[in-house]
Symmetry: C2
Subunit: 279 residues, 2 copies
């Protein structure tokens, strides 16, 4: 049994095995839009904030990115900040960054002290992943390695291989997002989540996207997904539910699944069965 | 593809492939308790009412059962009434009925014209199942054949065999309830539900009981379960959620899974994929 399945960021535990942390994205295109979006998101009291920097029109100017990041950091108070440049191939907005431009931006941001986590895609070149790992470790930043399939739901062996690749690359967390075509795909994603969450020595974040996958955003945590992405001001991927509705559902589940605390001592984390029983 | 997966009872379609009908149980021990419970349940506007007659202390007196049934029928208005004597071995209250006592009671009730559906257990003797089938057909009553395991979650092949046995015995619907011991059991029950709901030529009702199984009562319909049992006045099995909370969750799911109508024309029923997509 792995002995380190959780990650602590600014005092928040990711990977408790209980209710998910709620992450709200920022997709503003410029400073003004971001700050107004951030104010709306902060009012919703997220557990994490993801800055989807691929939506930032100034992404080609690393000084502008660093300056915006510093402003977001200041206004986000003690909410952990996740920095993500999603590639166009995995659902992001096309950016002008070419070659090592993305890696250089991650490196500067990791050194800047304003972000707590970065999401980098497993599909990047292994050399680039190593560079981001090195920069994030040097900057005290946690690294999520991620995989997104907007076309379908790969088989369990493919998804398990993605988790294994994230492990080998030294990730602090792994994130997997798929597009289901029928309810069986949703169950397949949840089954991999349940199996891998017990095997991995790090937190796992999974979701099935689109309307069919809504259930995974509401209840994936029951099967081992540690973070759910919801809508604070604007959504960043199909199927995200407004945070108010997510909380209503979590509240019902909390009451009837016998789960009453958000964060539990890490010592209790390795008892997945005991997490859920209440009668 | 089966051509008759739904059942119509008093104008309500069971097996639309969309949101579940909500069934609220009555577990009163005597006439006064039942009528007071029924008033509370009617205020919650259920789609179905199940009279759990094993809880009725007068069960040994078939005239008393018929008289109570007539009163319930009258007060239930147009809500379909499901008559169930749950055996002690499958979660019911022990009753004094012995030998063919249960079958004779079902036969009289089916002939009485006051109930719309009966639930009879697959574990009964095949001869008894045939007798109840004959009586229910003669009385125009739909027959659910049911299987409950309060100790665990049998393998998929066992659950598939229960569905096949219900089919062979000429059931109008089949119901399967299991007790999960971990989230993997919940996924196993939902997977069988998804597979069998596409295969069977009749509606399927499934649930995983207890706190761990709560999700199946809230979301089993996404995978093909046609009815969910909730608490109106009193619960009748572990893990049932108050109907108010169930409706809150269904409302969120309705909005974000793109499903907007409760009942759909039967012609649309055989398109499980099309049922769920919204973007």
């Amino acid at each position: 049994v792995p002995d380190q399945r959780w990650v602590t960021v600014r005092g928040r535990i990711i990977g408790t095995g209980r209710e998910p942390l709620i992450c709200l994205p920022l997709v503003g295109g410029d400073r003004a839009a971001l700050l107004s979006e951030l104010a709306a998101v902060m009012a919703k009291k997220p557990d994490l904030i993801e800055w989807r920097v691929d939506h930032f029109l100034g992404i080609g100017d690393s000084e502008a990115v660093l300056a915006a990041g510093a402003e977001i950091r200041h206004l986000a108070g003690d909410i952990p900040l996740l920095f993500t440049v999603r590639s166009a191939g995995e659902g992001g907005r096309p950016t002008p960054l070419a070659g090592d431009g993305v890696v250089n931006l991650y490196a500067r941001v990791c050194a800047g002290g304003n972000v707590d986590l970065v999401d980098f895609e497993l599909a990047h070149d292994p050399v680039q992943i190593r560079m981001v790992r090195k920069a994030s470790l040097a900057g005290g930043v946690k690294m999520i390695l991620s995989f997104h399939d907007f076309t379908g739901t790969p088989g369990a062996e493919v998804l398990r291989a993605k988790c294994a690749a994230a492990e080998s690359a030294g990730a602090d967390m792994v994130k997997i997002a798929v597009m289901p075509h029928d309810p069986g795909d949703v169950l397949a994603l949840l089954s991999v989540t349940w199996e891998e969450s017990r095997r991995l020595a790090m937190p796992l974040i999974t979701m099935a996207m689109g309307p069919l996958g809504t259930l995974t955003r509401l209840a994936g945590w029951l099967f081992g997904s540690s973070v759910t992405f919801a809508v604070g001001a604007h959504n960043s991927a199909p199927g995200q539910v407004p945070v108010e509705d997510l909380r209503v559902v979590l509240d019902v589940m909390r009451r009837y699944t016998g789960i009453t605390r958000l964060c539990v001592p890490p010592a209790e984390r390795n008892l997945p069965g005991g997490t859920f029983h209440g009668d």
